[in-house]
């Protein structure tokens, strides 16, 4: 029986964590009850991107975009939409329906309109467990083209011409990297997919692996062919069980279809892929530490040179590419470098996937052409800042990046421009920071992360990150001095300059960038003993303004009973007893409580 409608259920980890797992069962039940189960195809897809509004159900052929779907909504969708053809308007994502009740294809929604999907081309659209859906969307044609119509040199040259640069953060031209490894003669070479995504809040790679694992496999195979490797590894963190499962299925299917193994497409090229699980150490995303980990050693970086392209896994030439980079590769080879490099800017080609988070309306996964401005991403795609707050900064590059102030909002996203702005592309974390945040506190957050994640090998990173965090604590506690700011800056510069690997070299970036762009805020902490963002506990106290309506909610919730006031009367806080936990501030229905 051919299905007349497809129901796509977003099964990305974000939607699953919001309860998407049981939606399919609900559909099964109700469709069966209605006797139309056979007419409808149910597809669990990867992440559709707009995670803030998940879980999603998308119904084709109409392309109706249902958001924030709960189990109980499924019956309605089945009865009304699928059985009777009545679109359930109240469940449709607000922006996907016009005032005239016209349904917009979800690609017409503001969040998606400005996006260009290359890496995420199949994500949220296909069933990742079905290789035929990938093939139907031109999957593995790039591999066929590379193996049968192109020499290894030509593949590498095509990659160089495409201008594709590493999406893991460094931005090194992928083709150039391949050429090094290709040129190194060896009886054995390796190519590794770096799926050790570690930036806090970043989930681009996870979404790709869950939503379109074959694109990563195909990229890995093309890379293997180009450099002369017959063996690929996917190094993925064990915290991504769903991604690991999808990869296992994909590898098994590719083998079954003869796309992995011996003599692929009759070309004489053999390739095998093995999954290696990492324990989730951030440092294992660094190439040399990743290699050490695959070899069974402790995840510690080593000195470069020699670079892995010359001497990598088990001493053999090894290429390590990030998940997103690999997902781009089939697109580059299939459409050709010229098509690919039309997208983006002169120095940064193609698109970049970001996980947009923080104080933003449409948090989620976005893919934009290089050269898109931060303003477009934040306001047109991201929908702006919630609760009428002012934007303060945009943080990119995760714990290795920096903060970009609002004055640079029209900055076009490129590897170089972000570095010039004191930040970096990184692997794609983009955190929007509003006025209620403290830059000292945000630095503490990132440093806390790097301190935890330092492998402990080299002095500056092992000891220096800890001391930087402690200096931030001193500043945040109000006990800091201007000398402490200088000490912090000097220490940060030294750690950046003399650390062994990228983790330590980049760890001071949040501090350096924020000291550069937001120094007055740091100075306010040490000179005026004031936290302008109202975050640092030692420097603030909570106050109830006359907006108070006397609802008594705050007084009831206060864990130390320091709020007094009768019903419908202005309440007050006994600041000597207050522990500044902020519960009252969060619960106040009229925002009457402020920290000053």
């Amino acid at each position: 029986m051919v299905e007349r409608a497809h129901v796509l259920i977003c099964s990305g980890s974000n939607c699953v964590s919001r309860g998407a797992n049981s939606l399919r069962d609900e559909f099964e039940t109700h469709l069966t009850k209605l006797g139309i189960r056979e007419e409808i195809k149910l597809v669990n897809t990867g992440c559709v991107g707009l995670c803030e509004q998940g879980p999603f159900v998308i119904v084709y052929p109409e392309g109706v975009f249902y958001a924030q779907i709960k189990n109980k909504d499924i019956e309605t969708i089945c009865n009304e939409h699928l059985y009777k053809g009545r679109i359930v308007e109240k469940l449709v994502f607000d922006e996907a329906i016009t005032e005239e009740k016209e349904i917009k294809q979800f690609t017409e929604i503001g969040f998606y309109k400005k996006q260009t999907k290359i890496a995420l081309r199949n994500c949220g659209l296909i069933n990742p467990d079905d290789i035929e859906e990938y093939i139907a969307r031109d999957g593995y044609r790039a591999l066929g083209k590379a193996l049968l119509e192109m020499s290894r040199d030509e593949v590498v040259e095509e990659m160089i011409a495409s201008g594709l640069r590493g999406r893991g953060g460094g931005g090194f031209p992928t083709g150039v990297k391949w050429r090094f490894a290709m040129a190194n003669e060896s009886d054995q070479k390796f190519i590794i997919c770096n799926a050790d995504e570690g930036d806090p809040g970043a989930f681009m790679d996870r979404a790709l692996l869950e939503g379109d694992p074959h694109s990563v496999l195909e990229g890995l195979m093309i890379g293997g062919y180009a450099i002369g490797a017959n063996k690929g590894y996917i190094y993925v963190r064990i915290e991504y069980p769903n991604a690991i499962e999808k990869l296992k299925v994909a590898i098994a299917q590719a083998k079954e279809y003869g796309l992995l193994g011996k003599n692929i497409f009759g070309s004489g090229f053999d390739f095998d892929i093995e999954i290696r699980l990492g324990a989730g150490a951030f440092v294992c995303g660094e190439e040399t530490a990743l290699i050490a980990s695959i070899e069974g050693g402790r995840g510690m970086s080593r000195n470069k040179p020699p670079f892995p392209a010359a001497k990598g896994l088990w001493g053999k030439p090894t290429i390590i590419n990030n998940v997103e980079t690999l997902a781009n590769i089939p697109a580059v080879i299939f459409s050709g470098a010229e098509t690919f490099n039309k997208i983006g800017t002169e120095k940064s080609k193609g698109t970049k996937v970001f996980s947009l988070g923080g104080n933003i309306v449409n948090a989620g996964l976005v893919e934009v052409p290089m050269g898109t401005t931060l303003r477009e991403v934040i306001y047109e795609i991201g929908g702006g800042i919630p609760n009428g707050k002012e934007l303060k900064a945009v943080q990119t590059g995760g714990p290795s990046g920096g903060a970009i102030p609002t004055s640079l909002l029209d900055l076009q996203i490129e590897y170089e421009t972000l570095i010039e702005a004191g930040s970096m592309m990184g692997s794609g974390g983009m955190v929007v920071i509003d006025e209620d945040n403290c830059m000292v506190d945000i630095c503490r957050f990132y440093l806390d992360f790097t301190v935890e994640e330092s492998c402990g090998k080299c002095t500056p990173c092992r000891e220096g990150t800890k001391k930087m965090l402690e200096l931030l604590d001193i500043i945040s506690s109000g006990e800091g001095t201007l000398e402490d700011l200088d000490r912090l800056e000097n220490l940060a510069k030294m750690v950046k300059n003399s650390s062994l690997c990228g983790l330590g070299q980049a760890a001071p970036n949040p501090i350096l960038s924020m000291l550069d762009k937001f120094r007055p805020e740091f100075e306010a902490h040490v000179v005026d003993k004031r936290c302008p963002g109202g975050v640092c506990k030692s420097l603030i106290h909570l106050e109830i303004t006359d907006k108070c309506i006397g609802c008594t909610k705050c007084a009831k919730q206060c864990p130390v009973d320091c709020i007094s006031g009768s019903i419908k009367q202005l309440h007050s806080i006994d600041t000597s007893a207050c522990i500044k936990c902020g519960v009252c501030k969060n619960i106040c229905p009229v925002d009457a409580i402020i920290s000053v």
Binding site: R4, E62, K84, G144, Y257, F265
Partner: protein, 121 residues
Amino acid sequence: MKSLDDLKKIREAAQHKVIMRGGTLDSIKILVGMGTCGINAGARPIMTKFVEELAKRNLITVTVAPIDCTGNCDNTPIVKVVIDKKETTYGNVTEKMIAKIIKEHVEGGKPVQDYVLGNKK
């Protein structure tokens, strides 16, 4: 899989799996009135038959969907064929009419005037 041809075969055979998604469809839609009136008049088997008939002819880019009551409750089952936003409504549709509608209208581009609502006596 041994060659690019094999891949091509699989790709073509799998088109039906994905073509409905992602906006690559041409603009022919077959909409079947599925109000209570339509269901009572047997619209459901009509819709199923359309799906089967299209599949038989490998017209995988044409979509079939139920729509709400169109207000022509006296002439159910109602079927609308939309080509390039141009809508033709058939009334009192029976299974026997389906093959002809597909052949002449969907494939041939000419509405089956005899079946069009209002034309038929």
